[in-house]
């Protein structure tokens, strides 16, 4: 298969690691970050001395408690990494943007092995009364919240419930379809010892749960957790003798073709996800038909629907028909989806958890939750609203 992607096959993934994941662990963000990064480095068959790059989303200086477990500086400092390249930021192609930046860095020779991490301790932060407060900053709604806060729309659940409702109106998507996404995640989480919620979820329980912002009920919203995820992005020339076969980054989705807003997009049944997906497919000869594993962001169930729609698994608008009762998303289905339980049941690792799971599946190391189709091409796509980024990975 072709290696003519954006990095000509030079950027590969060689390791993945996850810290302890759970609710109210009471550990610091840096502690969790170090655990995940050391596990990823060991998973690759590398040592800390081999790591010469560090990248993360969103970096330091973030006011919301628990949202940023550690900055790149803090990790570099803690592990004494001799970095020839590093970066962090949130204004990038979603929570996966730093992975794409790391691919560029290794392809251009700025680093050989970059550790990319995302860590959160939102559950502990909320339990200690530090719930992210929109009232900070003088008690006024500023920035993008200026046009939402005065109307009580201070949660992404409200911002994203509106386009979800519009897609339902225009195309006949139903709550049962959203429920199929949530139930699929829960079923997979039952085979993931690290997942936060593992008991089976029925459609009856789903439909009967309390509403948050219609059409989103409790089970349409992901669960805050404590945990860190890390992957190793390597230059292919530097991978001989490593633990896993290198995974090729076939293409990346980085587009944002309309304004970065939550409410002004011309077609409310699309999001920046559609722009990221379009740019990803422009950079590869592979197509959606070649994908045999999908890890699609589910901060809200509808965002998985959006990514399925954006990536072109079916003509725009036909998500309901494609989802059905979720049959194709099981381990023995044609498109296993979010097989670690996603963020809905696995916990909100905020983006990189999906990439971790894609690596595990492509390496065939899923154990009880290994997809039976032995996937060779996986798509990982994260973000919602104006936030979007995607990766196409292969074993080729």
């Amino acid at each position: 298969m072709s290696r003519g992607g954006p990095f000509e096959g030079k950027a590969v993934l060689t390791g993945a690691g996850k810290s302890q994941v759970g609710r109210r662990l009471g550990r610091t963000g840096l502690d969790l970050t170090v655990e995940a990064c050391l596990r990823a480095i060991e998973d690759a068959g590398l040592s800390v001395d081999d790591i010469d790059g560090v990248a993360s989303y969103p970096g330091g200086g973030v006011p919301q408690p628990g949202f940023s477990g550690a900055s790149t500086h803090e990790l570099q400092n803690a592990l004494g990494i001799r970095a020839t390249w590093y970066m962090s930021g949130a204004e990038t192609a979603g929570q996966i943007g730093p992975v794409i930046e790391a691919c560029m860095a290794v392809a251009l020779g700025l680093a050989n092995h970059v550790v990319v991490f995302r860590s959160v301790w939102e559950s502990t932060a909320q339990a200690s009364g530090n719930r992210a407060s929109v009232l900070s900053g003088g008690g006024k709604a500023a920035g993008h919240l200026e046009y939402f806060g005065p109307f009580g729309a201070v949660s992404p659940s409200s911002w994203l419930a509106m386009p979800a409702q519009r897609y339902m109106h225009d195309f006949g998507l139903t709550r049962e379809h959203l429920g199929a996404i949530a139930i699929n995640a829960r079923a997979h989480a039952g085979r993931n010892a690290d997942a936060v919620y593992r008991d089976p979820l029925t459609m009856e329980e789903y439909l009967g749960s309390r509403m948050i912002s219609e059409p989103f009920c409790l089970y349409d919203c992901d669960v805050p957790c404590d945990g860190a995820t890390a992957v190793i992005v390597s230059r292919r020339d530097a991978t001989s003798g490593l633990a896993h076969p290198a995974l090729t980054v076939e293409s990346v989705g980085t587009g944002m073709l309309e304004r970065a807003t939550w409410d002004q997009r011309r077609d409310l049944t699309t999001m920046a996800a559609h722009d990221a997906a379009a740019t990803m497919w422009q950079r590869t000869t592979l197509t959606a038909k070649d994908v045999d594993h999908a890890e699609l962001y589910d901060g809200f169930s509808y965002l998985t629907v959006t990514w399925l729609d954006a990536l072109g698994f079916f003509p725009h608008g036909e998500a309901g028909q494609f989802i059905g009762a979720g049959e194709r998303f099981g381990l023995d289905g044609s498109l296993p989806l979010n097989t670690s339980g996603g963020q809905l049941s696995g916990g909100r690792l905020h983006g990189l958890g999906f990439l971790h799971e894609a690596c595990v599946q492509l390496w065939g190391e899923g154990g009880d939750r290994q997809a039976t189709n032995s996937p060779e091409v996986a798509v990982v796509a994260v973000g919602g609203g104006p936030v979007a980024g995607s990766l196409l990975l292969s074993t080729h």
Partner: protein, 151 residues
């Protein structure tokens, strides 16, 4: 949800030089939205340049305050003290320019009557004191329907 009553609390906006007109037009009963004098389109939120034609010749202009519901949610979760649910958050497409939306609340409507395309009209709620005074634009079902606006 009928018979809207003013809540005890709304999170006040922090107006900027560009957005001040949007938040204060209500003092004279006007919904002021940025318009480009070069291409004629409205746009929102306010900015010092037209995103379509990049003209700098932009200024706030009074609209009819009429529009239609493009998307909505009935929020059922309490997020802010003094602003109890349920309440409707909606994106309102302006009658003047269907590509332009203002996110707000729709009040005085039974949720079962809410629908995409529902005609609505603006009213204003004054909050704050002195320099901090703002007139928050809210929407209610239109009292008389101009069918021509419901394209």
């Amino acid at each position: 949800m009928n018979a809207y009553t003013r809540p005890d609390f709304r999170l006040p906006p922090q107006p900027t030089a560009e957005s001040a007109a949007f938040w204060t037009g209500g003092e004279r009963g006007k919904l002021l939205v940025m318009r480009c004098r070069a291409c004629g389109h409205f746009f929102h939120p306010p900015a010092p340049v037209c995103f379509r034609c990049r003209s700098l010749d932009v200024a706030p202009e009074a609209t009819s305050g009429r529009g239609t519901v493009a998307a909505f949610t009935v929020n059922q979760q309490q997020w802010l003290p003094g602003l109890p649910p349920p309440y409707v958050v909606a994106m309102i497409e302006l009658a003047e320019d269907h590509d332009v939306r203002v996110t707000s609340n729709v009040v005085d409507v039974d949720p079962k009557d809410l629908r995409v395309g529902l005609p609505v009209e603006v009213f204003f709620e004054e909050w704050g004191e002195g320099e901090d005074r703002v007139w928050i634009p809210l929407f209610q079902p239109a009292t008389d329907t101009h069918e021509g606006e419901l394209a």
